[in-house]
């Protein structure tokens, strides 16, 4: 699937030419918008240097014991993250953010995000570059580690929403006050999109492959967004998210779409927090279309600002029964300072069908922002 091929792009009959024209129009509009936005500071004669540039970041260290109860028990230390974040106002309205991640003691080095943002429009911000795709809350609010109350990744947010899902494109974010205290938040994005083989696992579709000339560079882009209601003085947040795009082509040259839908909610009162999120994927495939669902519910209570017990349940339903999983995780966080925490967690992992493995896990984690 290269950029030079001429193939039908939809299962539902739109001709390639018409779709290409529309996509080229969208691309040209996006380019014009970006040029206009980034050119404004220069037109006003503002110098291109950072007015404020800050280096910050976070790190964590873990001791893990996995497959508890099995003869293959694993014990290992993990320097999961040492991530550096650079933030800067290039001019008064032009903002830049970069996070470089060193995961697993440097085994994985990647750009978590790196974007330019224009903040000169009232209540609207426009970004271009690589960003964490604003779908739901878990993906968006994953980092830094200090804000994740259970070190385990809940089911549904690895194999369905492939967290951390970051991608390259344009992102528009807006907030609209609907009363003195409450606001609606809107995010919309157009990105290169997830890409891979017909029927492949969603997690394997990540990788910004549409940036590469030798693999999948084409004019099919994914679009989506999130609409949220934020009521901070009530302590309630609600949101709904969508992502849709072509991820592969069948052997007959038909476009295969992947659509993700998500809902998220959180309620906070004093030190109590209850939050949950559901995600559903509809994935077209030559063999058989697939539906995948997953989600989590998490409750925590911060006692005297120092100790925070957490209970999290997560589960996923997949087309293959052996991948139907659930987990009950119990954890406790000890607040060392506003920027650091020690967390202990125990996970009971269950297979919902078939053979039940001895694969429970314990993790002890120290994390810090700097």
């Amino acid at each position: 699937m290269t950029g030079g091929e001429r193939t039908p792009v939809s299962r539902h009959g739109a001709t390639a030419v018409r779709v290409r024209r529309r996509q080229l129009g969208a691309g040209a509009s996006t380019l014009a918008l970006l040029l206009a936005v980034t050119a404004m500071p220069f037109a006003r004669g503002q110098p291109l240097r950072a007015q404020a540039l800050t280096l910050t970041g976070y790190a964590d260290f873990e001791a893990n014991v996995e497959k508890l109860g099995s003869t293959d028990r694993e014990f290992y230390f993990d320097n999961y993250h040492v991530n550096l974040i650079m933030l800067g106002r290039i001019t008064g309205k032009l903002f830049a953010a970069v996070e470089v991640e060193y995961e697993h003691a440097g085994d994985e080095i990647a750009l978590e995000y790196g974007y330019l943002g224009y903040t000169g429009l009232k209540d609207v911000r426009i970004f271009a570059g690589k960003f964490i795709v604003p779908f739901g809350r878990f993906n968006k609010d994953l980092h830094p580690t200090t804000i994740k109350k259970i070190p385990f990744r809940p089911h549904g947010f690895a194999d369905i929403l492939p967290q951390t899902y970051n991608d390259v494109g344009v992102w528009v974010s807006a907030a609209k006050a609907i009363s003195d205290d409450n606001r609606i938040v809107l995010d919309g994005f157009i990105v290169n999109g997830l890409l891979g083989d017909d029927g492949a696992g969603i997690r394997s579709l990540r990788g910004n492959d549409r940036e590469r000339a030798d693999f999948g560079r084409d004019d099919n882009k994914a679009v989506g967004g999130r609409v949220g209601l934020e009521m901070p003085f009530v302590g309630l947040d609600l949101g709904g998210s969508v992502y849709t795009g072509k991820y592969a082509e069948s052997s007959e040259g038909l476009g295969l779409n992947l659509t993700l839908l998500g809902v998220d909610a959180a309620y906070r009162k004093a030190g109590f927090t209850l939050r949950g999120e559901l995600v559903r994927a509809s994935q077209e495939a030559s063999a058989e279309d697939m539906t995948k669902t997953g989600g989590y519910l998490e409750a925590s209570y911060l006692i005297k600002g120092r100790v925070e017990p957490v209970l999290q349940y997560s589960a996923q339903n997949m087309p293959v029964a052996s991948a139907d999983l659930s987990r009950l995780a119990l954890g406790v966080g000890f607040v060392i300072s506003p920027a650091s925490t020690v967390r202990l967690a125990y996970a009971v992992n269950r297979e919902k069908s078939g053979f039940e493995s001895d694969n429970n896990a314990i993790v002890a984690q120290f994390n810090v922002m700097f």
Binding site: A52, T54, F95, S173, K176, A177, I178, R183, G188, A339
Partner: protein, 131 residues
């Protein structure tokens, strides 16, 4: 649901949101918004953790992450900068660079205005409730 329908849903949501009457923010102070919003994702960081210049960058990043309105963002950033760490020897509050942070003095060496003192008392009360 097809991609076209989903796209329509997103566009319709934007139109509905834009149709809401514009509400002038100002009844909530920066400290109130800070206490109610910033602690939703992470523990609230005190203003004197960073210099005003650092808050310019870090604060903007957080404003983007939290999706604050411009009015809310301005109020929170003013609060944080008012209480920001001040570099040693900068009595006028001229913000310093990150490199000067270890030598910096806390901002409470400067006498707060009555409004600032009241705001800080209020946020401490809020913190006790929230955290």
């Amino acid at each position: 649901m097809t991609g076209k329908r989903l796209g329509f849903l997103v566009v319709a949501s934007v139109v509905v949101a834009a149709a809401f009457p514009r509400v002038v923010h100002g009844q909530r102070s920066g400290v109130e918004i800070w206490a109610a919003t910033c602690g939703n994702c992470h523990r609230t960081q005190p203003g004197d953790r960073y210099t005003a210049k650092d808050w310019d960058a870090i604060g903007m990043h957080m404003v983007i992450t939290a999706r604050l309105t411009d009015a809310q963002a301005t109020a929170v950033l003013e609060f944080l900068k008012t209480n920001a760490m001040r570099p040693e020897g900068s009595a006028n509050g001229n913000p310093g660079s990150t490199a000067s942070r270890p030598q910096a003095q806390r901002s409470d060496t400067a006498a707060p205005t009555p409004e600032q003192a009241a705001a800080v008392r209020k946020y401490i009360r809020e913190l006790k409730v929230r955290r």
